[in-house]
């Protein structure tokens, strides 16, 4: 590979504007594909937006003669895929206390027709801050009402939501009413059921119309939007927090016969792990950093939840509970996975829970989550284990382009005031 490197160096032409098929070669780092063993002194070849190849230095042979190639030497560094946030409100919220900046929560109970991506603010200050923390993809969902609406998987860099949308709709979100756990007559659940039933009828009528057998059914945006989740084209993200609600939600989902269900819940998910595994239902675990559900539970109850899910064979992603507050600190997601590893979750599973498994659960496993030829070249370069808060994320590529980390407001303010503090050192200007 040394020879290849030298050959490449000779061919380097750096250009200001990246080209669609521009070649970038990362060399010298330990490459962590996530779905395979780390590669010491590995190479990642990026062509355009995609990873063309990864492998050990020396085994990849170059066919780049005459092409424009940028070689990035990363000796001593580590390369990982970017983190995929499995459920957040990044993009929909700015300053939690200023209503005009918050688009997370529509009014009303039935919001099936809401599309997240159209309200995703490409210039949110939260985006560059999250990217600086390695979060390169977010599955963003609305959070108002019983049927909350359609989520979207978004790239964290772009000029408008159109070019940032990776998958939309990524899923339909329904909040299972906690009061329905022990009450068959729960009004909120009845509202959801009635709406789903109407939607089934509406789509039957629509199919009949399309077949030429019936008049066009009256337009109804909410009922129409429920079609893909009813026929299993998109998954249902069913939100239920504690054990009783989770059990009831699982029973209910079975009854309703949804094609695909992802359960979103708190650390109580560990208590239904066997059932989740048996039914093959993936989950988003809402947070390792939460209080134990019950006052009398063990202090580490929430810390061990991920390990219990893993032992039972449940496919899971670790989230942070979302919300506006979570959105500002989406960058802390990987630490939650790390803390789960302090309490029994194997480290490689911890890493997968915020990369590969998260990507798979939100429907972009073919594009993101691992360093694999053909996937999007969205990756981070670090000086160590990225689940460690002590580690620094030094460089970032999103879809093959290096991202300028100084776009983070935090880094801008840091650099400005670091200089100011240096200039005003006592005696500096006397």
């Amino acid at each position: 590979m040394k020879t290849l490197t030298i050959l490449l160096l000779a061919a380097v032409v750096t250009t200001a504007a990246a080209q669609d098929d521009a070649l970038t070669v990362l060399t010298g780092a330990t490459v962590h594909p996530v779905d395979g063993e780390p590669i010491d002194n590995g190479v990642v070849i990026i062509r355009g937006e995609r990873i063309e190849a990864i492998g050990p230095s020396g085994e990849l042979t170059g066919t780049f003669d005459g092409e424009r190639v940028t070689v990035i030497e990363l000796d001593g560094k580590h390369v990982y895929p970017g983190f995929v946030h499995p459920l957040s409100s990044v993009g929909l919220t700015e300053i939690g206390s200023v209503a005009g900046t918050v688009d997370t929560t529509e009014m009303g109970a039935i919001n099936a027709a809401l599309r997240t991506e159209v309200a995703f603010n490409p210039d949110s200050a939260l985006l560059p801050v999250s990217v600086a923390g390695g979060i390169l993809t977010t599955h963003t969902a609305p959070s108002g009402g019983l049927i909350r609406g359609q989520s979207a998987v978004m790239r964290m860099d772009g000029w408008s939501w159109e070019d940032m949308t990776l998958e939309a709709p990524a899923g339909m979100h329904i909040a299972f009413p906690p009061g329905a756990a022990d009450n068959a007559d729960n009004e909120d659940l009845a509202t959801i059921e009635r709406t789903l039933e109407q939607a089934r009828h509406w789509h039957r009528a629509q199919a009949a119309f399309e077949a030429g057998n019936a008049p066009r059914p009256r337009h109804n945006a909410q009922l129409e939007a429920l079609g893909p989740v009813l026929d299993g084209t998109i998954p249902l993200f069913l939100h239920a927090d504690n054990r009783a609600a989770i059990d009831a939600a699982l029973d209910w989902a079975e009854q309703q016969d949804f094609g695909r269900v992802v359960l979103v819940g708190g650390p109580d998910l560990q208590y239904v792990a066997d059932r989740l595994a048996a039914d093959g239902i993936p989950v988003v675990l809402n947070g390792v950093y939460t209080m134990p559900t019950r006052r009398w539970e063990a202090y580490d109850m929430a810390y061990v939840a991920a390990a219990k899910l893993n032992e039972a064979g449940v496919k899971f992603a670790i989230g942070d509970g979302g919300g506006g507050f979570g959105a500002t600190n989406a960058r802390n997601l990987p630490f939650q996975a790390g803390s789960a590893a302090a309490f029994g979750l194997p480290k490689d599973a911890a890493l997968k829970s915020v990369t590969q498994w998260a990507a798979e659960i939100v429907g972009v496993g073919d594009q993101l989550g691992t360093l694999t030829a053909g996937k999007r070249a969205s990756l981070i370069v670090t000086n160590g284990d990225p689940l460690e808060p002590m580690t620094s994320i030094e460089r970032v590529w999103i879809d093959g382009r290096e991202y300028d980390l100084d776009r983070s407001r935090h880094r801008q303010l840091y650099e400005r005031y670091r200089d100011r503090i240096a200039e005003t050192a006592p005696g500096a200007d006397d």
Binding site: V98, Y289, A342
Partner: protein, 498 residues
């Protein structure tokens, strides 16, 4: 004369309240752990948070609740409790300079812009489960503060986490008295609707109120001092007793230190300027989100900075908060500490310190000082706790790995030479409890009284179960309180409304 009577009345009221305090709560069923006369931790990595730095393969000797020696190849008398520290790390106990985790109501006496006379020590919740959970995260001392609803909030209480002790026994007697101030959006009530708006509604108004209160207290004090003594006093009407101004008077004479909630640089410069005019030094700015913008000014005044490392943008005045704040304040010579302000976050302050390594390249040992030595000195107890050094209280934590690593766990937490948390014991105890619970369930079912699956309130509720309000206590005014977005933007489980 009047003053003495008044003081007595207050003291009596206090002791009556203490006599009537009857804890009906399980913490009191736990005996305080024994205090071994001598303990030696051998062959561990000691993070002293002191000039000695990090000592490899070193020993720590505890005698009668104090640190007796720190070094290599130390001897301990026969009968000493020996702990093999091979592969383990030991740090001082963590100190959290901003907490509301053990207060029975009263976090905010939110009725008046100044409530200097109220005291946290009257409302300590010694049975808060947070005390045990925070011990399990290596915390040994916390500062219980009022909230931020008022410009002048009330008097704080520094406690040691002696789980199982009474409220009075929790109080850290060495801690100098302090008082909570608040600046910015909260005292001016920006983020919630108020049927009866209260003055002030601007930062200028907050400044005006503080100056006015200082002046009134100074005048009050002067009037008291001007009272003639002896027989002549009978001919003069004494100044009207005023508990609030008495307390503020103590701020002015230096016996009550200000710990002020503050976010923006302008408001902090204001408080420094006012304090200097009245000849006093502020103890700390709490949160101090824009501390990095006035760090040199803070250092010059001598005020400490007690900050969140990475909370930002949850309200307008938090939009310039940056995680590099601790690194920059420390660089400028500010006595810097990290705090939780949140009972959930308080359980892993070591990882907050770890972020100071990420953001601004603070050395790990220096970062550890931000959760030990730094807050200890800010609270005025730096000669009693916060370091592994001879003569200090034996408040320390044994970790199973690097104390700032996400993969590390607390194995034991000691306060005053007593082991208040031990993971091994905790694991064994929960097994015993599970067994007991199963036996009780079986008995109930045998008697035919079983209602299978029932037994708690889970079916109906969401969120957290079985907690008392005081255990989820928070400074409701710190977080934005817009009711529509309260439910959208905040996960209550995480106690985010600080």
């Amino acid at each position: 004369m009047k003053r003495i009577v008044l003081t007595l009345a207050v003291a009596l009221a206090g002791s009556t309240a203490a006599a009537q305090y009857q804890p009906d709560i399980e913490a009191w069923t736990i005996d305080a752990p024994p205090e071994p006369q001598t303990v030696i931790v051998r062959n561990a990595t000691l993070w002293t948070a002191d000039d000695a730095g990090i000592l490899d393969n070193a020993d720590l000797v505890i005698e009668d609740g104090r640190i007796a020696a720190v070094g290599s190849d130390l001897r301990a008398p026969r009968g000493a409790l020996e702990i093999d520290g091979t592969g383990l790390h030991v740090t001082p106990g963590i100190i959290d300079a901003h907490s509301h985790a053990a207060i029975i109501g009263g976090v905010n006496e939110a009725t008046d812009i100044s409530t200097a006379q109220v005291r946290i020590e009257d409302v300590i919740d010694a049975d808060s489960i947070n005390i045990y959970r925070q011990l399990a995260g290596g915390v040994t001392t916390i500062n219980l503060l009022h909230g931020s609803a008022n410009a002048i909030g009330g008097q704080m209480a520094v406690i040691k986490l002696r789980w199982g002790a009474s409220p009075r026994e929790l109080i850290f007697d060495a801690a100098p008295a302090g008082i909570k101030f608040a600046l910015g959006e909260n005292p001016k009530q920006s983020n919630w609707s108020n049927d009866e708006p209260r003055y002030p509604g601007t930062r200028s108004g907050v400044a005006q109120i503080i100056e006015e209160k200082f002046q009134l207290a100074e005048d009050h004090q002067r009037a008291i001092e001007a009272m003639p003594s002896g027989r002549r006093a009978r001919d003069v009407v004494p100044p009207r007793p005023d508990l609030e101004l008495d307390a503020i008077g103590k701020i002015l004479d230096g016996s009550l230190r200000i710990h002020s909630h503050a976010y923006r640089a302008d408001e902090m410069v204001m408080l420094i300027e006012v304090a200097e005019r009245f000849g006093i030094t502020i103890g700390t700015f709490q949160h101090v989100l824009e501390g990095y913008k006035l760090a040199r000014r803070m250092a010059e005044h001598g005020v400490g900075g007690s900050t969140f490392i990475d909370w930002w943008n949850f309200k307008a005045e938090a939009s310039d908060a940056i995680p590099y704040n601790p690194a920059l304040m420390a660089e400028a010579g500010v006595l810097t500490g990290l705090h939780s302000d949140n009972p959930e976050l308080a359980r892993r302050m070591n990882l907050e310190a770890a972020k100071a390594v990420r953001y601004g390249g603070v050395e790990p040992h220096e970062a550890l000082k931000m959760i030990t030595t730094g807050p200890a000195e800010q609270l005025g107890v730096g000669d009693r706790t916060g370091r592994l050094a001879e003569g200090l209280d034996a408040d320390f934590v044994i970790w199973n790995g690097h104390p700032l690593s996400v993969y590390s766990r607390v194995e034991q937490t000691w306060v005053d030479g007593r082991r208040y948390f031990d993971r091994e014991t905790d694991l064994a105890r929960r097994e015993a409890l599970d067994t007991e619970r199963r036996e009780l369930m079986a008995m109930v079912l045998d008697e035919g009284g079983g209602d299978e699956g029932a037994g708690d309130d889970e079916a109906t509720g969401g969120g957290l179960l079985g907690y008392r309000d005081s255990e989820l206590a928070h400074d409701a005014y710190c977080f934005a309180h817009d009711h529509r977005h309260l439910h959208a933007g905040i996960d209550f489980r995480k106690g985010n409304r600080q």
